[in-house]
C-alpha cells in the first residue's frame, strides 16, 4: 500500500492504483491523515529554493600557449610609445654590443657596426667619406645627431602607427567577411526551416479542407457513433427533443 500511496501522491499511479488508494483513504483514517501530512511536508520542502547558482565552466581543453604567443599578446597590448622606446632601447643595446660607430656625413646620418667594419676594413677606408668616429664627435655634430635621432624616432612611430592601422583594417575586413558568411549560413538555415514549416502548414490546411468537406455530424458524433450504446442514447435524446 505504501508504494501505491507514494505513486498516488506524485501522480504516478496507474488508474488501478489510484482507485485502490482512493477507496482505501476513504475508509482508513490513519492513511488519510498521512496523505495530508505528506502533502504538507511537500509544501515545506518546496520552501527551500535556491537562488544562488554558481556558474561552472569546465575548460574543456585549456589551449597551451607558447612563450612566443604570450610575448606576441604582450606586444599587441603594449602602447605605441612603449613599443617605440623598447625598439630604440633594443637597438641601442645591440649597437653598443657590436661597437657601432655613428657617423654623420654629407650623405646623412649613418651607423655602422664595428663587426662589419672589421670584416671589410678596406672598403670602409676606401669609401673615403667624412666619417667621424663617435669618440671624436664635435659638439655641433652631437646636436645634429640628436635632431636626426628625434626625426628617426618620429619616423619609427609613424611607421608603426601606419602598420597598426593597416593591420586593424585587414582584421576588420576579414571579420566582416566572416560575419557575412555566418549570416548567409543562418539565412540559408532559416529559409529551409521556413520551407519545412510552409510544407507542414500546407498539410495542415489540406487536413482542414478535408474535414470541412465532411459532414459536421460525422465529426461531432464520430466518437459516439462508434459505440452503439451511446448512439442509441443520443438518438433517444434527439427523439425526446
Amino acid at each position: 500500500m505504501h508504494e501505491a500511496l507514494v505513486s498516488y501522491l506524485y501522480n504516478e499511479a496507474t488508474a488501478e492504483e489510484s482507485r485502490r488508494v482512493e477507496s482505501h483513504i476513504a475508509e482508513c483514517r490513519a492513511c488519510a491523515e498521512e496523505m495530508a501530512a505528506f502533502e504538507r511536508v511537500r509544501g515545506m520542502l518546496q520552501q527551500w529554493q535556491l537562488d544562488d547558482m554558481p556558474i561552472v565552466r569546465v575548460v574543456a581543453s585549456p589551449p597551451r600557449r607558447s612563450a612566443l604567443a604570450v610575448l606576441k599578446e604582450l606586444f599587441s597590448i603594449t602602447p605605441l610609445w612603449a613599443k617605440a622606446l623598447g625598439a630604440m632601447a633594443m637597438a641601442m643595446l645591440v649597437l653598443a654590443v657590436m661597437g657601432t660607430e655613428i657617423s654623420v656625413g654629407r650623405d646623412g646620418f649613418s651607423m655602422r657596426a664595428d663587426l662589419l667594419r672589421r670584416n671589410q676594413p678596406a672598403q670602409a677606408v676606401s669609401a673615403g667619406d667624412t666619417r667621424i668616429a663617435d669618440n671624436a664627435m664635435s659638439s655641433v655634430n652631437v646636436e645634429q645627431v640628436r635632431a636626426d635621432l628625434r626625426a628617426y624616432v618620429n619616423d619609427l612611430i609613424l611607421a608603426s602607427e601606419r602598420q597598426q592601422k593597416e593591420e586593424l583594417n585587414a582584421q576588420l575586413v576579414s571579420l566582416e567577411s566572416q560575419l557575412q558568411n555566418m549570416h548567409a549560413a543562418d539565412l540559408a538555415k532559416l529559409a529551409t526551416r521556413i520551407q519545412e514549416h510552409q510544407a507542414r502548414l500546407k498539410t495542415i490546411e489540406r487536413d482542414i479542407d478535408r474535414r470541412e468537406g465532411s459532414d459536421l455530424t460525422d465529426i461531432l458524433f464520430s466518437d459516439v457513433l462508434s459505440k452503439p450504446d451511446a448512439r442509441s442514447n443520443v438518438l433517444a435524446e434527439k427523439g425526446s427533443d
Binding site: H2, E3, L5, V6, S7, L9, Y10, E12, E34, A37, F38, R40, V41, R42, G43, M44, L45, Q46, Q47, W48, Q49, L50, D52, M53, P54, I55, V56, R57, V58, A60, S61, R193
Partner: protein
Amino acid sequence: MKRMEGLSSDRWRDSELELSDTQIIERTLGGEPDAFNMLVRRWERQIYGLTLRMLGRDDEAKDATQETFLSAYRNLSKFRGEAKFSSWIYRIALNICNTKLRGRAKQVVSLDEQREESGFEIAADLEELGSNIQQEQVARHVRRALQGLPAEMRQVIIMKEYEGLKFSEIAEILGIPLSTVKTRMYTGLAELRKRLEHLRTAV
C-alpha cells in the same frame, strides 16, 4: 506544485533549435571540446541543486559540481548512450556526493562547523525580513531535516521533489528496483513528517 528545475525542461531540449545531449557529446568527442560547455550550461543548475541539497554546504556543492562535470568530460567516451545523459551525470554527481559524505563522517567536525552546517545564516537584509522570513525559517528547518536523513533516503527525496524525476528514472540512476525507490520515498517522507510536523502552524 512548483517545479523549479529538472526534466520538465525536456520540451525545449528536444526542440529543433537545440542540439540534443547526445549530439553535443558526439561533437565533443569529434574534436570540438568546447561543445561540452553547452552541456555544462544545460545541466549545471540541476547538478548544483542536487549536490547542494545532498551536501548542505554551498562550498562543497560548488566543488562537487565542478568535479562532476570534469569527471563527465574525462569519461565522456565511456558514455554509451544506453541511458540518458542526465541519468548518467546525476549518477556521477551522487557518487561524488557520497564520497564526500563518507569522508566527512571520518572527520572530527568542530562545534562551530556543525552549527554553520546546520542552517542558513540569518538574513541580514532588512528588506528580506517581511514575508521572506517565514520561508527562510521553514527552509532552514527543511535543510536541517533533510541533512538528518540517511543519504539513500535523502537522494531519492531530492531527485523526486526538487529535480522532478520520475520514480523509474530515479531507479535507473541509482540502479535499484522501482519498489525500493518508492519504499525509500515513503520512509523518507514519514521521517520528515516527524521532524517537520511542529512547523505545521507556520505553513
